[in-house]
Symmetry: C2
Subunit: 429 residues, 2 copies
């Protein structure tokens, strides 16, 4: 059996990595024998062969802990599900250079070296596919790259990190649990790593946003250029104030085409409770794509987990059996520009004394920022009193300048927190 | 410029039809000049040339009201956006037979003749693509067929008809408006046709469900085999009772793989208010796909409208520039089987007198159906009194038999209504 383009079927597939995702990929291939005439697993590279040997893997599969042995077998496709940038980046290059297509779930590698690897694939007339890199089993990459190819896409926004979604939606629903308690629960339930920094500080979502921007705009936005803010400072009081504003708080990832470049950020923001993002609870991923002609389309589902991510890998493998060649994809450099004017939520925790509001108000006025509302919930101690000021749409630079001035005052019990309010920017709200 | 498979680019595209979708396709091609080296619009077939001539269409495009003239030009692709089964079915066959790929938005044609047309495409080594046939701009077909190809899909459910969604979500939100009033509004706002029968009685959604089943399961389920019930009998009282059950009412389309065949239906059902379907308001389409490995993935967005549907058409055209050939797709015959046991909502409107509940209860008991709850809201007249009985999960045949017996009683002021309750069948609820 041959593909029309000339590649012989079944494709001989070598698997780099046999963790949760790798094992699930092998599992699907074993459990779906109808795929056998298109995809044949021939090699598994795994560093700790003895420990993880799985009896259900067919004996026709060669296990090895020597990557050279895998490459010597000249596989048609190398599936990379190890993660991290080195050494796997070198292995991905080596695969493309020796004429293997590559399927990877590695968002970090793509965020860091996507343009170079895509160019290398074009040079060697090979395909590099990565449906599994964003949103696990949610077919975002196929949906955006092919299903929405006819549109002129303008905006990608989403809840891209399951841990952050889980933590924030638990805090929104729950009593007055501090984030640390919710994080402990999340760890126990397997929703958070021992060190959740990459999740809650925005690096994980940022890497996914880089990949999505590549797909949607064919532009490479540097991960280091995307402003990232942690969800760590969000407290139970913030949810109480957000609720009074008809809102809740989510870790939002957003990239939007502007005349001069791309506005992008990852971090906590207020969204309307009845919006697409506000309604999404738990660890699910949600991505909304805006286009000039088609309006908003949303995708949601399990953003992580071995089986869901493995579905994406196998889907990519099946796509490779259908087409040997694509027009190569290229991500040109994309420039990050500042945020558009937006309303902001400013939360202060102060040791109360007269004159605080007057002081803050005059600093805001000095930056040309218009006061919208002042919210103060009862029941907090005088020496640790949270209150909120919302301001009308203004430049991010003005807010930053104002907060920098206000933070110098002596009345703060905690550092002030400024969150963007994304109200109705998502037309589905 | 050539595709790797050998087809010369740009693809010469002939457009059959210049209504809302056809005009939007032409508009996108004109407004996105970067597509010109891949897609070139050469002919537009339109019956009423004079009236619809659009000055913005480039003069290089040939307009004709003779379909033979269009075929004589030997286009690479024929885009069919006229709709209906004849004469366009014949034109689609003719296109494939003379070596043109076909892109169509025609769900009725696919529902009726999908298997035959797909076979014809394979025979002539041509592609037949139809992203636009379901869900307008929502990239369902690409997402399901390619992005979820790695999974073993088990279930497709959705809100597939914008008119019904709009009408039911308006009634759910609103006061006590009867459906006729909401339908009048919907017509005025362009959400409903003068004759909305195809929408509210389930034929439109049914045709889409046939196409989705083809994509998800590679099986052709006959439109006439799918049980369809109209949303017409739903009243304001039903929403009040549904709310007491934590539910709302939506027109659901569902197809699910069972051992012996497929369970499928289109019609009103109770869904939890906080579920994916319950939360969706307005005319948006939502589709949830369940798979053995990836769990549930959802897609949502504008299900109709010229520009959104045109995005799907242009996406298909771009996919054709990438690949000349697929493995042909085939839809084998699929058998429809009965519903699994489910709880049901039974609404009666009676002329009240003693003994009614006892009579209904004994009929239900005779069919082995277990009573769950009896709900009766105050404030209704004695001679037109609505009340609701919910029953535990039971066979659809038992419910039908019981309703058939109960309907013979003389106490009815309106025919009784039985609605399935889809509670937690959608794991995302």
């Amino acid at each position: 059996m041959h593909t029309k383009g000339g590649r012989r079927l079944p494709l001989r597939v070598a698997l780099l990595g046999f963790g949760t995702v790798g094992a699930s990929v092998a599992r699907i291939l074993v459990e779906r024998p109808e795929l056998a005439n298109r995809i044949q697993l021939t090699h598994i590279f795994n560093r700790d062969v003895a420990r993880k040997h799985a009896a259900w893997v067919p004996s026709t599969v060669t296990w090895t802990d020597k990557v050279d042995e895998l490459f010597a077998a000249k596989p048609d496709v190398v599936v990379e599900v190890i993660g991290g940038i080195e050494p796997v980046g070198g292995w991905v290059r080596r695969a493309l250079e020796q004429g293997a297509a590559v399927v990877t779930a590695n968002k970090q590698l793509l965020a860091a070296h996507g343009p170079e690897l895509l160019r290398l694939a074009v040079t060697h007339d090979m395909l590099l596919r990565f449906e599994a890199a964003v949103g696990g089993g949610v077919p975002l990459i196929h949906g955006v790259r092919e299903g929405l190819a006819g549109d002129n896409l303008t905006r990608v926004s989403g809840l891209l990190n399951g841990t952050s979604n889980y933590v924030l939606s638990r805090m929104a629903a729950g009593g007055d649990e501090p984030m640390s308690v919710v994080l402990d629960d999340a760890r126990r339930l397997g929703y958070a790593e021992a060190d959740p920094s990459a999740d809650i500080d925005g690096d994980d979502a940022g890497a996914k946003l880089v990949v999505l921007a590549g797909i949607a705009f064919r532009r490479h936005i540097k991960l280091s250029d995307i402003p990232k803010r942690s969800i760590r400072p969000i407290s139970a009081a913030d949810f109480r104030y957000a609720r009074r504003l008809g809102c809740t708080i989510r870790q939002i990832s957003l990239v939007e085409q502007k005349d001069e470049g791309f506005h992008a950020f990852v971090g906590p923001a207020l969204v309307l409770r009845g919006s697409n993002f506000g309604l999404n609870m738990g660890a699910n991923n949600v991505v909304t794509i805006g286009g000039q002609y088609g309006g908003e389309s949303s995708f949601s589902g399990a953003g992580a987990g071995g089986p869901a991510t493995a579905v994406a890998v196998v889907s990519d493998l099946l796509a490779l059996t259908q087409r040997d060649r694509d027009h190569g994809e290229e991500w040109l450099p994309g420039k990050v520009v500042g945020a558009p004017p937006r309303p902001y939520y400013l939360r202060f925790v102060v040791r109360d004394r007269p004159g605080i509001i007057a002081s803050i108000a005059s600093t805001l006025a000095a930056e040309g920022i218009n006061f919208d509302a002042l919210l103060q919930e009862p029941g907090y101690p005088k020496d640790h009193l949270p209150f909120v000021i919302t301001v009308e749409a203004c430049e991010e630079s003005a807010i930053n300048k104002a907060v920098k001035a206000i933070i110098k005052e002596d009345f703060h019990a905690e550092p002030p927190l400024a969150l963007p309010m994304l109200l109705g920017e998502d037309p589905r709200t």
